[in-house]
Subunit: 324 residues, 2 copies
C-alpha cells in the first residue's frame, strides 16, 4: 500500500476509537496573529495527545498472533500513555520501558492506563538492551514512536480530519503548523494534505536550540541537536529527524519554524484564555509560531496542530503568569 492508502486504512481502523477533535478558533487570536487561525486541539485526544492515534494504528495493524503476544515501547511521555491505553483497549498487554527518574505522575498514569512499567537506570543501563531482551523473551512487538509506517499512518489521520474541517470553513490554502519532534505527526499530516488538501502545506515547529528538523530541511541533510535535554518542551525533544520521516518532510513540507520557551509558555496562556484548552509546552510551539513568528508565515489563514496537553500544574502556573 502507498503511504496515503496506509493513512486511509488507519482512519478506518481508528473510527469509533480515536476521537475526532474539533477545529477551534477565536477572534482574539485572529487579531493577535494578523490572520485567521484555526487550531486542531489534539490535547483532547485520548491520553491527552495525538500519540494515541499512531499507537492504535500500529496495534490494530498487527496480525492476530503478534497482537496477542503484546507490545513494547520506550518512552517516558506521551507515546508511553498512548501505547499503554491503545493496548489495553485492544485487550492485550503492553510493556513500557521508562527511566526510573521519570516524573512519578507519568509512571503512575502509564500503569493506570494498563501498561506494565519496566524502569531502567539511565546512567548505567540501555533501554534498548532491556527492551530487546524482553521482546525476545515474550515475543513482544516494538512500537516505535515515529520511524514506523503504521505509526505515521495513524498520526496522518489528524491530517485527513483537518483537511475536511478546513475545507468546510472555506480554508483551502495556507500553512499548517505542526509541533515536531521525530516527525511522525508532521510527516503523516503532510502526506494526508498532499492528497486531500494540496493548497495546504505542513511546516514543522520546534523549540529554539532543538530545531534539528528546521536545520535539516534548510541544509538538505540530517542535522542533530547539541543537547538532548534542558528545554521545557520535553515532549518534542528528539536527537535528529527520523530515517523514515525525514525524506517525507523534505519532499512535502515548507521551511521549519522555531520558538523560544517563553513564546511556548505565552501561547499556552493564550490557549487557556481564548480557547479554553490545556496545552503542554511542546504542544504549544505551533501556536506560538502562529502568534509570534507571523512575518515568517504567508496568507490569510493559518492552521495550527496543538499536539498535546500533558503538563504539570506547576508549569501551567508559569504560563498563566503571562496573563497577570
Amino acid at each position: 500500500m502507498s503511504s496515503i492508502e496506509l493513512i486511509e486504512a488507519a482512519a478506518e481502523r481508528l473510527k469509533g476509537h480515536a476521537r475526532a477533535t474539533p477545529l477551534l478558533s477565536s477572534p482574539f487570536l485572529d487579531e493577535f496573529a494578523g490572520r485567521r487561525v484555526l487550531i486542531k486541539p489534539e490535547c483532547l485526544q485520548h491520553t491527552g495527545s495525538f500519540k494515541f492515534r499512531g499507537a492504535w494504528s500500529a496495534i490494530s495493524a498487527l496480525d492476530d498472533a503478534a497482537r496477542c503476544r503484546g507490545v513494547i515501547a520506550y518512552s517516558s511521555g506521551n507515546h508511553a500513555q498512548g501505547v499503554a491505553y491503545a493496548a489495553a483497549q485492544h485487550g492485550i498487554s503492553s510493556v513500557i520501558v521508562m527511566p526510573s527518574d521519570a516524573p512519578k505522575l507519568k509512571i503512575e498514569n502509564t500503569r493506570a492506563l494498563g501498561g506494565e512499567v519496566v524502569l531502567y537506570d539511565r546512567s548505567s543501563e540501555s533501554r534498548e538492551d532491556i527492551g530487546e531482551a524482553l521482546a525476545a523473551q515474550r515475543g513482544l512487538t516494538l512500537i516505535r514512536p515515529y520511524d514506523e509506517p503504521q505509526v505515521i499512518a495513524g498520526q496522518g489521520t489528524t491530517g485527513l480530519e483537518l483537511a475536511r474541517q478546513a475545507r468546510e470553513l472555506g480554508v483551502t490554502e495556507g500553512d499548517v503548523l505542526v509541533c515536531c519532534g521525530g516527525g511522525g505527526l508532521t510527516s503523516g499530516i503532510a502526506l494526508a494534505l498532499d492528497r486531500h488538501a494540496p493548497g495546504l502545506r505542513a511546516r514543522p515547529c520546534e523549540p529554539e536550540g532543538f530545531d534539528d528538523v528546521k536545520r535539516s530541511l534548510a541544509t538538505g541533510d540530517v542535522q542533530g541537536n547539541d543537547a538532548s535535554s534542558g528545554n521545557i518542551c520535553d515532549a518534542i525533544l528528539t536527537p535528529r529527524p527520523g530515517q523514515i520521516t525525514f525524506p517525507i518532510l523534505q519532499r512535502l513540507c515548507g521551511p521549519g519554524l522555531s520558538v523560544s520557551e517563553q513564546d511556548a509558555l505565552h501561547a499556552m496562556a493564550l490557549a487557556f484564555l481564548r480557547l479554553k484548552i490545556v496545552l503542554e509546552p511542546g504542544g504549544a510551539v505551533a501556536l506560538a509560531a502562529a502568534l509570534f513568528r507571523k512575518d515568517q508565515i504567508k496568507g490569510d489563514a493559518v492552521i495550527v496542530v496543538a499536539s498535546g496537553g500533558n503538563v504539570d500544574p506547576q508549569v501551567f502556573e508559569q504560563a498563566l503568569e503571562f496573563l497577570t
Copy 2:
C-alpha cells in the same frame, strides 16, 4: 411551532455557526466516579460558553427589520459575550448593559467582540430603566438570558448533539447533569432529550446555597435564594427559576443536585488534568456532581454538560492547588 420544533429549527440556523462540541471521557474520571462519565465541553463553544447558541438562535430568528435595528442584553458575563459576538457575526449592532464594577476583562472582551457596552451604577441606577429607554429610542430587541423561547431553543441544540453522540457511544440510559442558573440550558436539553433520547434524563446542578431550582423541584413551587452573590460559581447565580423554564424543568427533569465551592474547584482541577479543558467554577458544578455526589446518581453511565470556561487565572490557580 412546538418546543422541539423550535429546537430543531434553531439547529438548522446554527449549522456552520455554532461549534459542534465533542463528547470527551477519561478512564481516570470513570474510575473516580464509579461509572462511565461522558463530558460535553461547552467551554469550547464560541465565546467560551453555551450562551453563544441561544444568542445566535434568538438573533437569527428575528425578522429582518427588527434584526437590522440591533439587539440589547443585560449581563456582565457569558450571555453578554455570546450576544455581542453573535450580533457582530450577523453584522448588526448590540448594546450590552453591564454594571460599572464588572471585571475589567469582561468589559473589554465584550467590547472586543463587537458589543457597545453601556455601564450603569448598581447602587443608584436600574439596568431595566436604562435598557428600556435605549431599546425604545433605537428600536432594539431585548435578548433575555433564559426566559425566551428562542434562547431556550438555541441552548437545546446542545441536547440534540449530545443525544446523537451518546447513542453512537452506546449510552442510551442515564442522567444528564447540567450546570443550571435560570434554567435555559437545562430546559432546552430536557426538551431535546425527551424527543431524541427518552432514556436520558436531565438533572439541574447548582452551587450549595444557590440551589433554588433543586428546592423548587422538590417542593413543587418556585423558591428563591437568600443571597444574590457571594459564591465562586458566578455564572450560574440567579435569584429563582425562570417563568418559562421552570414548568419545563418540572415536567421533564429528575431531582436537582448541589455541590460546594470546593467540589467545583476540585472538578476544575480534574478537568485540567484528565480532559485538558478549562472550566470556570459555574461550568464545573455538573462534573463535580458526577464525581462527588455519586450516591445520588443511578446507572452505569452519566453525562455531564460542562457549560463554560471563562475563568480568571487567579481562580484557576486556586483550583490547581487540588493537584499539589
